[in-house]
Symmetry: none
């Protein structure tokens, strides 16, 4: 009986961890953080309650881990050209990617909307230095600011082609609000968006704001 290599152990650990996180994501996003119990997660993941604490220090840390993992996934699938400005084609692509991400990670977005809107959960997480969210290694706040700047610059540059009546700030707010509103509806009531209208929303946003 040769002992398993540490790589094998590591792999097993990662698998278990992923199992727990996936199960927890489902429950947190469907029932909310408070209404989800560790017992439920454990039962649905087919493990014991105690085992969870082998992988995560607390319920809060489990949540933070889930959020960070998804942020990274999104970041990787996004992969914007940092340190540069957005061309109209890149902007169009950006919109398409955003919508694709909504579609592919609906569970996660549900979690974000539910959890981020809950002072008490979010703030508790924010207080804990170990629980700061990062996107591709960058603190979420910083990353968000960067993305906002990218957007903002794009709309400011647009003013040059659209003329003096074009108010870049208002336009950007219109754009981002539409996006947020769509996300909200699509995530919580996807039935309202059959594929046809989903696509139309994408094309309309591109037509109006590119």
């Amino acid at each position: 009986m040769s002992p398993r290599s540490s790589a094998q152990f590591e792999e097993m650990r990662e698998e278990k961890k992923a199992l727990i996180m996936n199960t927890a994501l489902e429950h947190f996003s469907d029932y909310g953080f408070h209404a989800t119990t560790i017992s439920h997660i454990a039962k649905h993941a087919g493990i014991s309650k105690g085992l969870m604490y082998n992988y995560f220090k607390s319920k809060e840390e489990l949540l933070a881990a889930i959020i960070n993992r998804s942020l990274d996934e999104i970041y990787r699938s996004f992969n914007p050209d940092r340190d540069s400005t957005l061309t109209p084609d890149e902007f169009e692509n950006f919109i398409r990617r955003i919508f694709a991400i909504f579609r592919e990670n609906r569970q996660f977005w549900k979690l974000i909307y539910r959890v981020m809107l809950q002072r008490g959960v979010y703030e508790h997480l924010s207080d804990d230095p170990d629980a700061t969210f990062t996107v591709g290694g960058i603190p979420l706040m910083e990353y968000s600011a960067y993305m906002a700047k990218l957007m903002s610059d794009y709309f400011i540059r647009k003013k040059e082609t659209e003329g003096p009546d074009f108010d870049p700030v208002t336009e950007m707010l219109m754009f981002s609000n539409t996006l947020k509103g769509f996300a909200l509806t699509y995530i919580f009531a996807p039935g309202q968006y059959p594929d046809e209208y989903f696509e139309k929303m994408v094309e309309t946003l591109i037509r109006k704001y590119r």
Copy 2:
């Protein structure tokens, strides 16, 4: 010496009830339903825990009472012309009223967003026949459907003046998503909307969708 008159008692009751509801609204909307404890509400209202139960049968009923009270307030301030179609002027007025309501009842909208996004709370309330929400006496669901129809008809009629390229469904979705997205941001991060941009959003929405 002489005992309080029943009118005096009634007045005391109404005042206390309002105090409890206001305190609870603040807590529910800031921390969410589950994270808010009766103890916290009582402490902040300066009353004993038990007293709350003299006025509300349960935490759930307290929440329902708060929601219904605000729905009625909104309804009264809204006072739409039922059973009619919307003229462009009325539509414009509708938008202005909506934004005014966002501004005046921010705390309540926070509650709505938080609670509605928490499966388990909302559904529990819906199960309880005593807890059905009403707007001016009309069940909320019915009222919502009516408002949606009013909107929908407006956009369909717009097609006549806007020409064949105008897709009423997509336009309405764009409009309502922008509204939702704005509400979300304004409610949870009002700092992003100084008065200047708040007004600009109103005017832009009117200009684009009227």
Copy 3:
């Protein structure tokens, strides 16, 4: 406005007191002591909760007052010839009176069976010197002992006429157990005793034990 005479006041007090006690007896005997709330009693009696405390120091004292009142009623209706021995006719009459009392005070007997069987209630009452039960001014314990002696003597004397095989202690136990068992059933499931069998029980007991 001449003030009411103190006799009038006293009469009013007594009426209110009786109202409260009657209402409470009904509730205590039907639902038990713990399950009955002061609020329920007050509501059913049509008075305020506070008023009860004008007449009785506590819930326990209210119970004790009810029990004592009924004990006295029973005593008066009983009126046995103290300080004497029982003749067979008196014994027969005693049986008839007992059954009549069961019939007339069923509510009270229900209370007795429920409360007396509840250590915690009864013992609490016994601890309180003000709450000792009395029958016609005599402490209940003393009165019970006296009655037991009367019975006992009766059965002992019976031995003389019944012969040496007659065991007075066993006979008395048989007799008193039958009485208790009948009371228990009659009080909690009176439907099992239509008038016909009620009478037959009386006659049979007399025939067998007189």
Copy 4:
């Protein structure tokens, strides 16, 4: 090191469960259901309050479990010859077994008398389909009816040998009331029944009603 086997866990569970049930039986039967608190049970069993809920869903379920366990114990020790009629010998044996059961399960009978006499507890239990009592798998009501029929038939058959003056219904009532009355006294005041009189009661009942 190695985790406990599931058999080990099962054994631990059964032991703890029995400990809790025994402790609770003692408290319920001595103080009544309402007056007994989970805290008291836990303290006397030497466990935490929470642990009880690992084994029983509620206080009511705990009570139901205790009652059912005892009913089964009694049933097994009883083992009457179902589907047959009672011979005098069997009837005599039946009486002896009943008395033996009173003696062996006094705590349980105390519970039965207290709980059954507490409207609100018993009825609550009856409402809950999961809490229906069963005796050897047979619903209690059905079992009771069967036993009553067995008795009834016995007394009816007795009429043939006892002559026309024998009233089977009255005789059966006398018999069952004596039994109930004895049980009541023996259970709540066993001091009144030294072994000598206990035995005499048995023999007398047999002599009189066999």
